[in-house]
Subunit: 570 residues, 2 copies
């Protein structure tokens, strides 16, 4: 195993930043018993996930109660300590969503006694608090999160209240929440980062006295830098009366790109509950991302953060990320840290060469840690910056044992292709290798096509294909739509059992006579083999078609993929 | 102007984190004279943009020489101090790209004497350095960037060299670069963050003695936390012999989400050149994002960073971001800080209410600062979390002056719609208001459709539509493809001059009989009005169609949009 080889190497002592030991270290620790205002192990950091509340506030990210329940179930697998399930006062649907989560997810204890705290946000008024309590009270560990703004600009312009009024409201409402029977109360100071320090000490001291078990320092507008946010947390810890009876939580926004760093820095100053969202979604530029915060703690916790650790099962990160992406519709950029498509990909020649010699040269986390099944395929991409070393390795993986001069010749053609095409796929590589031997001609070519479709609920296609030796074949088929009928007509001629794995068509342009690009991926039915881990793998083949007629483009893409498949020899 | 109102308010002194003054402050300062190893103003921070080199290393982000030249021209408008134009040894195309940039962009002086430094990266060998120098030497301010790895793991496994060998190579190669006539040399210590400190002091000291004018501390694998990275920079500044003759640069990667914070923290410890990419693109999780670093310095430079400032014209950030997104194909997530689609959007009711009372409640940057033309439309989205205040404001902007009970009634229907639909658009709102009066029925409905298409290079459609009062109309048209002919047939019946602004079709699924979703946006030709800033605005209308037949779905989407347009009264 790579990690151990690395740890036991003679180099270890000279790495000031060796992250590997911490990753092994944190695995063995268990989650301490849950007590609202106290964590028995001072190194344990609670993770509060607010994807379902603050994440959902992202424009366009609204989710149904059913979707939220699905995500909440996944958050349990991930092992978050606290699920902020929603804002029950926002609408009836929100109320129902929180209640469903409290009743199901909040009541199912794991074997080790773990059950997430379910928390509902509420403004500091009796109606909100009562509604929120109705929504969460059936959970095994229910919590309320009354909040109020504490910064001068928010108090003056938004609340139109004085400091004294805000103090009075906070105290009274925390006491009111307690009077309903709630024993776990998290008090949120909105815009705390722009608030007067003395006022924060006072209001936190007062609410702790009134029964708050956690106090949240929110950087609502995402304005602070790590060193000042860390100082703020340290000051609060040093100056707030009774702070030892409560947990300090932080809630950071990413407007200046600092949410993750501020959250981590806060742990150094004593924060022990981190409020995050999956994929970092949230209002505006979003919140601190769960996956970044958790992996930073895992990777550096033992080495530079005094042994801090979380209870997160990181192997569920990838799956949770994909689920949230799908439910929220918030698509991630390829370079999103940890969970983006490119996060573990390497393209440049220098990096690929280094990785092939030792993964640790350019990798500080292993893709398996967040739930990937590792393969070089998932972590290296051949493009114009790739060098001979990477090309040769990939050709070997594809089963080609070439001589040095053959590799050199493929490499030259590969470089020429890579100048024109962003990614050179395995299929392209195969084609490049074949080109060294002979020019492969397509077995089937499109001669003519006529499609009829419309509102009859079925479509028909007549197609003429010509083979490599000049014979023409004609067939006709019906289908559910024009693309379906056209592919079926092709199948009647080609007579191969093919499975279409992906059919995608994208065009976003002005006007209706624009070029549509169709991408088809197929594999041959039953033509599988097994990889090194014993999983079934199918060789897949793709084709691209472009043109103003979407049906013709689709057939061309399909034929390209089919020709590659037919040309492929195991 | 909002900013001044805010600055002059009586609250100013009580804001520990008032960012506004710094924004005015930095505007008035000018860029100090360029001297390779020295910056006359100790508060000035140079920005090196490496979008064209490290950014392009992002898998799939390869750009043509022409695209790179276009981006380089835009980087000049943005005012970056140094453009890292590429890695000339990677390929002939890369060499040409760097040379074109050096010859054009690197030679055009602005009136104030500003011309960007053009830098080419090279490995520490004579061939690389010679090639790189050939590529950049015609620039007015050419610079070479020889680099070598300095961490134990890189030296042992990738370079297979000892410390002494690496030291020797670095010294010799910097001297060699100087011998070619290059007077501005930036030496890069790859993986410096995992390197031995004493070794860094030594190698930096040696290369400065050999003629290096900038030394780069790279966190190549993105592993450090801000406090330790800051300490590293401070230690290098304190212990490297001759460091006062060179600029300390930092180059941070985002693997743990800390690139921006590490870069900013380094400035506090003395770094005065920040290496960044537009949109934060780059290998794996990318680099520190130019827009985040620059706006953090702008927003907090005067207040908590001792007066640091850059020469960036932030009004060009948005345009540069869009250009890089387009050329690299690296699409941004909506919650990308500063330049993401949502970065200035507010959806929750509490936030919208606050903003309407005072923008400063939830906004620390103004969208205009990065090049937006502000409007409420660009910054507020109505969704299920929006409150009465935001709804009423938007209705007013749309021209509806409703009574309180009418607003309440629209609000109830709005909430019901928002539970089902993520974003409630202006068209939806208009429909909601109309619903208070009467149920609007579609004017045109699809009765039947027959389309023929194929390889004839044209398509024909026969269509039957029925009006609201039951009359049927039939028409037939040819077009370039099935969708084009179908829309033209609709136009023959409806007889409206319509412009299709957007036609998009997306389906990514297994199989070919999946549901395709078509989205059409149109506006009526010549039906424009003017907005408050004097720009022409067209009311636009959208429609969505779904089904297995892409042509039928397209027509349904088009008819929905047309019916909305016909129903719209100015």
């Amino acid at each position: 195993m790579r990690i151990q080889t690395f740890s036991s190497s003679s180099l270890q002592s000279s790495f000031p930043l060796n992250q590997i030991a911490s990753m092994n270290g944190s695995r063995s620790r268990s989650r301490p018993e849950y007590i609202p205002g106290h964590i028995p192990d001072p190194s344990y950091v609670r993770i509060l996930d607010t994807t379902l509340r603050d994440g959902e506030q992202a424009p366009g990210a609204a989710m149904t109660a059913e979707q939220k329940l699905r995500i909440a179930r996944q958050l349990v697998k991930l092992g978050v300590d606290v699920i902020e399930a929603g804002f029950p006062c926002a609408s009836q649907e929100d109320f129902n969503g929180v209640k469903m989560i409290a009743q199901e997810v909040g009541r199912k204890c794991e074997d080790d006694g773990y059950v997430p705290v379910i928390v509902a946000m509420c403004r500091c008024n009796e109606k909100d608090i009562r509604t929120a309590w109705e929504a969460v009270k059936e959970a095994k560990r229910p919590r309320l999160l009354p909040f109020i703004a504490t910064s001068p600009i928010h108090m003056e312009y938004k609340l139109r209240k004085t400091k004294e009024e805000v103090l009075q409201i906070a105290r009274t409402m925390v006491a009111f929440a307690r009077s309903l029977g709630c024993r776990d109360i998290e008090f949120g100071a909105e815009d705390a980062a722009r608030s007067d320090r003395e006022f924060l000490y006072q209001i936190f001291g007062d609410v702790i006295e009134a029964g708050a078990t956690t106090v949240v320092v929110a950087d609502t507008v995402g304005i602070t830098m790590p060193f000042e946010f860390g100082k703020l947390i340290a000051d609060i810890k040093a100056n707030t009366p009774g702070i030892e009876k409560a947990i300090i939580a932080v809630h950071c926004h990413n407007d200046l790109g600092h949410a993750t760093a501020n959250t981590i820095e806060a742990t150094r100053a004593g924060a022990r509950q981190l409020e995050v969202t999956v994929n970092g979604i949230g209002e505006r530029a979003g919140n601190a991302a769960l996956e970044e915060v958790v992996m930073a703690l895992r990777c550096r916790g033992d080495h530079v953060l005094g042994g801090l650790y979380t209870g997160i099962n990181t192997k569920h990160i990838l799956k949770t990320s994909k689920m949230v992406e799908e439910c929220s519709g918030m698509h991630l950029q390829p370079h999103k840290a940890i969970v983006g498509h490119n996060a573990f990909l390497h393209e440049s020649g220098i990096h690929q060469d280094g990785l092939l010699k030792h993964r640790g040269t350019y990798e500080i986390l292993s893709p398996e840690d967040i739930g990937y099944e590792r393969s070089n395929e998932a972590t290296m991409v051949l493009g114009k910056l790739s060098g001979r070393h990477a090309l040769k390795t990939r050709l070997k993986e594809l089963g080609y044992e070439l001589k040095e001069d053959e590799v050199e010749s493929v490499f030259q053609n590969f470089k020429a292709m890579a100048e024109k095409k962003k990614r050179v796929t395995d299929v392209d590589l195969k084609a490049l290798v074949s080109d060294q031997v002979c020019d492969v001609e397509p077995i089937w070519k499109l001669c003519g096509l006529e499609v009829t479709c419309g509102t009859m609920n079925f479509s028909s296609t007549t197609i003429e294909l010509v083979t490599i030796n000049g014979t023409t074949h004609v067939a006709c088929s019906v289908g559910k739509g024009p693309v379906d009928s056209a592919f079926k007509a092709v199948d009647l001629i080609v007579k191969e059992a093919v499975k279409v794995l992906e059919y995608s068509l994208n065009t976003i342009t002005e006007g209706t006579d624009a070029i549509a690009t169709v991408h088809v991926v197929i594999h041959k039915e039953n033509a599988h083999s097994y990889n090194s881990t014993g999983n079934i793998v199918y060789p897949t083949f793709s084709g691209i078609g472009k043109g103003v007629d979407v049906v013709v483009s689709s057939v061309e893409a399909y034929l390209t993929a089919l020709n590659k498949m037919l040309d492929f020899k195991e």
